[in-house]
Amino acid sequence: MDVEITLRVDGTDHRLTVDTRTTLLDALRERLGNTSPKKGCDHGQCGACTILLDDRRALGCLALAVAHQGADIVTAAGLVNGGGGEGDGLHPLQRSFIAHDAFQCGYCTPGQICSAVGMLREAAAGWPSAVAKDPNAADVVLDDEEIAERMSGNLCRCAAYANIVPAIADVAHRDEVAAHRDEGARR
């Protein structure tokens, strides 16, 4: 059954008519030509379709487009220029993935990067993870175990994890240094 909907994607509103069965993933890829979210399993098991919905990471394959009108949707493509990048316009995580050679085939990469953006926000907000030593700790320290646990919803068939974790850790630790610097400047 067709419905007319409005989706806000990477800062632009799109008016389109979709069948109610259309997921956000299919609307983005097939209707709006944004192929940065990838279709891996289409069952919520691989994370390749990860996007940001109102600043939170979510799976496009399990979200019906008709149920997410009005949400601010950001894809990996939309992180370029919008994510505080400099020079080449890439988001710091995108640049870090390149610097650390954190992919082989690259199919899972846009999902990994969107997931990492959401994950760093969650950690900055003090959200605990299943491997937290102290669930009541005020601050999250993103060591390799924490990053692996928090990123476990993104599978990489090439097993580039050995470089994905350092690529994310690099940005996470830079953010921590920046946060401390800001705090020092305020004092």
Binding site: G44, A63, A148, M151, S152
Partner: protein, 336 residues
């Protein structure tokens, strides 16, 4: 996926009425399980009634110290809530051990309780399954049994309930608040169901996961005021370190008196039954007993005496026993 109509209701009462009147309608919340089941043709609703914005997405403290968790509270927010983490750590840990960050952001509290089993035969429409198609048979009885139940199963269904959150809620004596077409005894015609009585054992009607009647909508989950629940934890054993369903999980809270005897204890098991399994017999065996490895093992044995494992999941007997003991020993350590 079968075509469907998508609808909004403006009030809980309107949603309840709309669903009660449409034989092939279903509620949609986060959709992380329902949309997948629709794609698999396991769920075939003709109408989806979106209830995500109808119920509260807040966790509210009541005058008596209870916490009322709105049905639309995302799993992420529930796990991150400072009050939950401090007063009921087992609940935060259970939620965080389920699914992935992406899924927890969309999945809701009410939806988590109503997710369906991940039994491979239930999810595969080409195989017989009494839960999906009553009377067609249970493929698991002669099939893959690793994920199946050892407690409370029946010849018609040996599936397990997949939720981690519900196991912690069972141990915490949570109450499920429901709005129904018929009305209930609480304010605004609210029905109140103990969480341990929400889910059913399969018996000969495994197609019914819960005691909810057609149209009834979960609006909130309430946690009683904290007692010794600050000393609680969740331990989950699975085939990979993260992002997998439990083979066995244990939610427990422990209160040990100065003399070293167990004053009170709450234990629930996941991955072993058609519902979150409250281990009443183990608890009874432990109250007043010395808080020792021997008592913990005896308590687990008392609970598992009623188990009926299948050839393919007999390993869960030792796994469940050892996980109960390990969780209680962890709590002894934590209380010290």
């Amino acid at each position: 996926m079968k075509p469907f109509r998508y609808e909004h209701a403006d009030t809980v009462a309107a949603a309840v009425t709309a669903l009660a009147e449409e034989p092939e309608a279903a509620y949609l919340a986060g959709g992380t399980n329902l949309v997948d089941l629709m794609r698999l043709d396991v769920a075939t609703p003709e109408v989806l009634i979106d209830v995500r914005r109808l119920t509260s997405d807040r966790i509210e403290e009541l005058p008596d110290g209870s916490l009322r968790i709105g049905a639309a509270v995302p799993n992420s927010d529930l796990a991150a809530d400072r009050r939950i983490r401090r007063r009921y750590p087992v609940l935060s840990q259970a939620v965080l051990s389920g699914a992935s960050g992406q899924l927890r952001n969309l999945a809701t509290t009410g939806g988590n309780l109503l997710q369906r089993t991940r039994c491979a035969y239930f999810q595969n429409v080409t195989t017989p399954c009494n839960k999906r198609e009553p009377g067609s048979g249970c493929s698991a009885l002669e099939g893959y049994q690793r994920d199946m139940a050892i407690l409370g199963a029946s010849p018609s269904c040996v599936a397990t309930h997949p939720s981690d959150m519900a196991v912690a809620l069972a141990a915490l004596d949570a109450t499920v608040c429901v709005q129904g077409a018929e009305g209930g005894q609480g304010p605004d015609g609210e029905l109140r169901i103990p969480l341990t009585e929400l889910h059913r054992l399969p018996g000969d009607s495994p197609e019914r996961d819960t005691v909810l009647r057609r149209g009834e909508l979960i609006t909130a989950v309430e946690l009683p005021p904290p007692d010794f629940t600050a000393t609680s934890r969740y331990r989950k054993v699975r085939d990979r370190a993260s992002y997998a369903f439990a083979l066995v999980s244990v939610a427990a809270a422990l209160d040990v008196a100065d003399g070293g005897t167990v004053r009170d204890v709450r234990i629930a098991l996941g991955g072993v039954a058609h519902k979150p399994w409250r281990a009443w017999k183990a608890e009874e065996s432990l109250r007043g007993a010395p808080a020792t490895w021997d008592s913990f093992r005896d308590a687990a044995a008392a609970e598992l005496a009623q188990a009926e494992p299948l050839p393919g999941n007999a390993f869960k007997m030792a796994l469940a026993r050892n996980t109960v003991v390990a969780t209680l020993l962890d709590l002894m350590e934590a209380a010290r």
